[in-house]
Amino acid sequence: MRPDLEIIRDWIAPDSRVLDLGCGDGELLWSLRRDRNIAGLGLEIDDDNIVRCIERGVGVIQIDLDEGLRDDFDDRSFDYVVMTQTLQAMRRPDLLLDEMLRVGKEAIVTFPNMGHWRNRMQMLLGGNMPVTPALPAAWYDTANIHLCTIRDFEALCESRSIRRLQRTTVDHNHRASTGARLLPNLMGEIAIYRLGRG
């Protein structure tokens, strides 16, 4: 299992309802059902991933997240709305974040931290857009159209009265380190947040 998913899984209380935005092949929801008795639902756009989710018995709805969650989901109808490594690829991450906290009592998001020292070095010394293990694509073919730093993200949360309930930062292998704990925006490659409203 992907290490970031393992971290998220440990943050989710048993017997809750989870909506996973961009659920991929359904790995997180599948393990949540097995280990945490969780009724989950995934949203996914990719045809092959849809088939994989159905194969493993994970409920999945084929949907383009850029259309937003619209009226498909009632307010606070899920305990958690999760989105891993997808926020930065959305057309309007800010609006989607609002939607996540409308539909879910809490939101869990992960994203690559543009403020990581390796990205800063490549910009400063090389003068080019960073290509790193956590951000492997070139500027012209990346899906990541809205990259941000941890500081940017927290400023957005603050402006929207979104409360930070839990945060961890890890390297691209999803390992925690003392450096990332002490200087998250400089040393953390991937940020993982649990958020609430008000």
Binding site: A39, L41, D47, I50, V51, R52, C53, I54, E55, G57, G59, V60, I61, Q62, I63, D71, D72, F73, D74, S77
Partner: protein, 379 residues
């Protein structure tokens, strides 16, 4: 005509008949004094009687869902792309049952069968039947076959509506419901198309108030109805690909005979339909479609209608279907999510329009395969 039966076909099959005594109360307030259902089965019912799939047919089809009746058949049953050994509804694993709906014209009690009380053909006296009536009759067939719980009830279009009604009316009698290219109720546009089709039939000089048996049938009207219906089954894209503006004779003849290939195709489809279908049945089936609205009993709240369901659901739509477009399947999915039910939904990219649900579209078959493997895991 198949030279030989393909390996993934259920092969040669026969229609069976089951007669039920005793009245069947209908939504319209009338009752059928007794009735017969024609049906076909493929595969073998297991000892636990837990591997049975009910397939519900759409507007213009019947109990012959797969295989061939004889080596002279031009085509196999209507859902042969999905039913057979190794296919999504795998007859090596499942026992598949497909009945002809009441009011049909292929052996189930309908306008072209005799009313036991009078000995006369029902003709236009056959009562208006609803999707709920069909489901009620199919439940009696399940009882007769000793099937207490379907592994799944599946159907496309009007068939999907029956599967939906099953989940609502008999929650403990099915484990899964597969709703394909369906809608929670018809739109005004859908009803409008049905009305034009019905008017084409009843205004045919041969219609005779529906009492045309033993006389020339209202073939012109039925043909028009089918031509109209056929346009709504195909997408604009599919028609352009298939016919474009191609001329039948390669030049314009400046008259109103068949000039374009698409005209030739529609006339052929319409004419061949009149040889296999009954006009009174067409009227009944379109009415059942118009009336279908399971949310109506729940103040228009579809989620409330689904509240008592216990099945797991698969909902599938097709991108170019404009008869029951993806948005209609999304309505169903949304209501199921609101009701807290287990559901998966996909929009399959297909250019064939509404008809895509009958076609071997690879992504569609992959989704069905994945889902039926889950059904099988619970059998």
């Amino acid at each position: 005509m198949p030279d030989s039966i393909p390996a993934d076909s259920v092969g040669l099959v026969e229609t069976q008949y089951r007669t039920f005594d005793g009245p069947l109360a209908l939504d319209c307030g009338r009752e059928l004094p007794g009735f017969t259902l024609a049906y076909e089965t493929y595969g073998t019912l297991n000892d636990a009687r837990s591997n049975a799939l009910l397939i519900c047919h759409a507007l213009s089809s019947d109990q012959h869902a797969a295989g061939y009746h004889s080596m002279d058949d031009a085509k196999p049953g209507w859902w042969d792309s999905c039913i057979g050994p190794g296919k999504p509804f795998d007859t090596d694993e499942f026992f598949v049952v497909c009945p002809n709906n009441l009011g049909g014209c292929k052996g189930s009690t309908g306008p072209n069968t005799a009313n036991p009380e009078t000995g006369e053909l029902y003709a236009s006296d056959f009562p208006i039947v609803t999707v709920r009536d069909w489901v009620r009759s199919q439940k009696l067939l399940a009882d007769a076959l000793g099937i207490t719980r379907w592994a799944a009830v599946a159907g496309g279009s009007l068939g999907g509506m029956q599967a939906m009604q099953w989940a609502i009316d008999y929650p403990d009698r099915l484990a899964h419901a597969l709703l394909i290219a369906a809608a929670p109720k018809l739109s005004a546009q859908n009803i409008a198309f049905n009305e034009v089709a019905r008017q084409a039939i009843v205004s045919d000089a041969d219609f005779n108030g529906g009492r045309y048996y033993g006389q020339p049938a209202p073939k012109k009207g039925l043909m028009l109805a089918r031509m109209l219906g056929h346009i709504t089954y195909l997408s604009d894209d599919a028609m352009r690909d298939k016919f474009g503006r191609e001329l039948k004779e390669g030049k314009l003849n400046f008259n109103f005979d068949i000039e374009f290939q698409v005209e030739s195709y529609l006339r052929y489809q319409g004419e061949s339909f009149t040889n296999r279908f009954d006009a009174n049945t067409y009227l009944l089936m379109t009415r059942a479609l118009d009336y279908f609205d399971p949310a109506a009993d729940f103040g228009g709240d579809l989620a409330a209608a689904f509240a008592r369901t216990a099945a797991r659901f698969l909902v599938v739509s097709f991108t170019t279907d404009w008869r029951f477009p993806p948005a209609r399947s999304r309505e169903i999915t949304r209501a199921l999510v609101q009701a807290g039910k287990q559901v998966s939904y996909c929009t399959v990219k297909a250019h064939q329009g509404h008809d895509a649900f009958l076609m071997p579209v690879p992504q569609y078959l992959a989704v069905l395969d994945a889902y039926t493997s889950q059904i099988l895991a619970g059998v």
